[in-house]
């Protein structure tokens, strides 16, 4: 039997789980097929400023998978300013969509795959896409909270997963990325590939505390709040993401969008 535990065991109590499930079913009817409701809850962050306290997160919708090359091409089609040869230099470093090997602004799908996640997009571009699609980038806490909604049988399994994760953070084959949905890694509400495919932009990827942490040798130690392998993997993810700047267009960085919950639905929440 699967234990319905968070990746950091013990934060989701049974009553709230029931509420979540009912609420989840109701919301599914409203939701678009490519996004799911991530129910409100809380999680333990590795950030030193949040020592011991669970971080509450309101419910929100999140894309099931990362934005694909094809979807991003649709966006670039309709928004001339975001085509590779048109994009203003203030919004991206060189390297924006460099894997497209485009003629004009069309990606070469034979090489890069329609259904592979788009990468080499700056934070500015990711933001623009999500706005265009009626959403926004998830916040750092939303993304991390969602990523932790996974079921594991034991803490041993969590450690094994986290160990693989660190290995993956050390070596991603950017030229042979899998298609979205291909990792088999899925949260209990159905969000796919938050690990194992690409790294993803979030709204506040460089939170104010990044300066305090000063991103030096002690930083990882200060992020070992949870004392397990998962927090080591998380600290590498946080630090790597924090070290980028909004213009960085990088072969491992893609994104997915989040959407606010309809206010009427929100008011039904207990």
């Amino acid at each position: 039997m699967k234990l319905p535990t968070n990746i950091i065991p013990g934060t989701l109590t049974l009553p709230s789980l029931v509420v979540v499930m009912v609420f989840g079913l109701a919301a599914a009817a409203w939701a678009q097929p490519d996004r799911v409701l991530v129910p409100s809850g809380s999680f333990h962050s590795v950030m030193p400023e949040m020592k011991g306290e669970a971080v509450p997160v309101d419910s929100f919708y999140l894309d099931i998978t990362a934005v694909t090359n094809e979807k991003f091409a649709g966006f670039a089609d309709q928004n001339i300013n975001w085509r590779p040869n048109e994009v203003p230099a203030v919004f991206t470093n060189k390297g924006y969509l460099k894997h497209w090997q485009e003629e004009g602004h069309k990606p070469d799908y034979k090489h890069i795959g329609r259904e592979r996640p788009v990468t080499n997009v700056s934070w500015f571009a990711a933001n623009a896409y999500c706005q265009w699609s009626g959403g926004r980038l998830p916040t750092l806490n939303e993304w991390e909270y969602s990523a932790q909604l996974m079921d594991f049988d034991s803490s041993g399994e969590v450690n094994e997963f986290a160990t693989k994760l660190v290995g993956w953070y050390s070596s991603v084959d950017t030229k042979n990325l899998g298609e979205v949905g291909s990792t088999g890694i899925e949260t209990r509400v159905g969000v796919k590939d938050q690990f194992g495919l690409i790294m993803e932009w979030v709204q506040d990827f460089k939170p104010p505390v990044a300066d305090d942490l000063s991103l030096d040798c002690g930083t990882v130690g200060r992020m070992q709040q949870l004392g397990n392998a998962y927090s080591y993997a998380a600290s590498i993810r946080y630090i790597t993401r924090m070290s980028y700047n909004p213009k960085s267009s990088i072969g491992t960085m893609g994104f997915r969008c989040a959407y606010d919950v309809d206010p009427k639905l929100e008011s039904n929440e207990p």
Binding site: G95, V166, G167, S170, S171, T174, V220, I250, M253
Partner: protein, 377 residues
């Protein structure tokens, strides 16, 4: 006549402003005990550079050290770019290394005490860079890797933020050693104020992961007035000890094993980045030669009890500083990021084994050979 007055006022203003800037620059850089401190702020920028990842006259591949062929001090322009590279570090053990310049350890930089270094580094971790094609451009390091590709280096990519921390430099780390994203470059100055051999490494967290993945190397700062025995030295080499923490990944390649790294249980402990390179390509000397080794233990986490089987170190300068002289040492204990410059006399023709006398390390690879020919003079 308002106009000339105004012009005069403007000019005076400009001159004052000029003095002010000059005064600022002067208070920025200062001398203390014959050393220079207070370097200008580092510059982070983007550039189109796609040339050799290592440039500068005094950068070589281990175990070589480029002799200093100049009098007095020199202002060096040095480039060491960050690139990912698939390399072989033991028979059949390949992984995608994070490197300075394409090899692990990175190139050896040789300068003199008091030299100024203007250092440029581009984070090209998101770009395939070949280091094994013969080129006339770039540092001697580039020709040496092309001629002697024992690591079977292949271009790879693994985009990550990275940084450079020269232990030979005395600067504020939050400025000079800051992390840059793929596609960005950083440029800063430092002065080699102290003689000795100093490691350099990536300081981006997790430092354990970044250094274990291969981002480290050595700067040899030769003392202004040399060491006592300089005139007797026949051969000079650089030897770096370091650890790998690797395990088989899903495919052909090996991967970083963070549990082993955290528990300081290396899969390989090596000299000059490869488990058998100093046996496959032994150091060479003759009986009666005075051999000088600059030995650095780059870690990331282990110690080295460095010994040469069949020899005694005639002189040892701890950290390579000429004032730290010891004599008649059998073994030199080096902590992580610690070094020594050591002389020994090769007694007779034969084989001498360089070894970390912590035998667990030796059996994981920390050994090498010095092959001695007959006495010639």
């Amino acid at each position: 006549m308002n106009f000339p007055k105004r012009t005069m006022a403007l000019l005076t203003g400009l001159i004052f402003a000029g003095f002010f800037t000059l005064a600022q620059a002067q208070t920025g850089e200062y001398e203390l005990d014959g050393m220079t401190f207070g370097m200008p702020e580092a510059e982070v920028f983007t550039e189109d550079y796609d040339g050799p990842p290592v440039a500068g006259e005094y950068l070589t591949m281990l175990p070589n050290l480029k002799p200093l062929d100049y009098e007095g001090n020199k202002h060096h322009e040095v480039r060491i770019d960050i690139i990912a590279q698939e390399i072989e570090v033991a028979d059949g053990v390949k992984y995608n290394a994070w490197t300075f310049g394409g090899t692990v350890p990175g190139p050896v930089l040789h300068v003199k005490e008091g030299d100024r270094i203007t250092f440029v580094m581009k984070n090209r971790s998101d770009e395939e860079v070949t280091i094994t094609e013969p080129t006339k451009e770039g540092a001697p390091f580039m020709q040496q890797t092309a001629q002697n590709n024992f690591m079977k280096a292949q271009p790879a990519t693994m985009p990550m933020p990275h940084s450079m921390d020269f232990h030979a430099g005395t600067v504020a780390k939050d400025d000079k050693w800051r992390s840059i994203s793929p596609g960005e470059s950083i440029k800063f100055d430092w002065i080699a104020n102290y003689a000795g051999s100093y490691i350099y490494h990536c300081g981006t967290p997790s430092v354990l992961m970044h250094t274990a993945m291969g981002q480290h190397g050595v700067v040899v700062v030769s003392p202004r007035d040399g060491y006592d025995t300089d005139y007797e030295v026949d051969k000079e080499f650089v030897v770096v000890q370091s650890e790998y923490y690797l395990k088989k990944g899903a495919g052909e390649l090996f991967q970083y094993d963070f549990e082993a790294a955290l528990n300081v249980n290396p899969s390989h402990v090596v000299f000059n980045g490869h488990q058998t390179i100093l046996h496959d390509q032994p150091l060479e000397a003759n009986a009666g030669d005075r051999v000088r080794l600059h030995v650095s233990n780059n870690g990331p986490s282990g110690t080295s009890s460095f010994h040469v089987i069949g020899a005694i170190f005639d002189r040892v300068w701890m950290e390579g500083h000429p004032f730290n002289e010891m004599r008649g040492m059998q073994t030199v204990l080096l902590g992580a990021s610690s070094s020594a410059t050591m002389d020994f006399i090769v007694p007779e023709e034969g084989k001498y084994i360089l070894i970390d006398h912590e035998f667990a390390d030796a059996e994981k690879g920390a050994t090498g050979t010095l092959k001695a020919g007959p006495r010639t003079n």
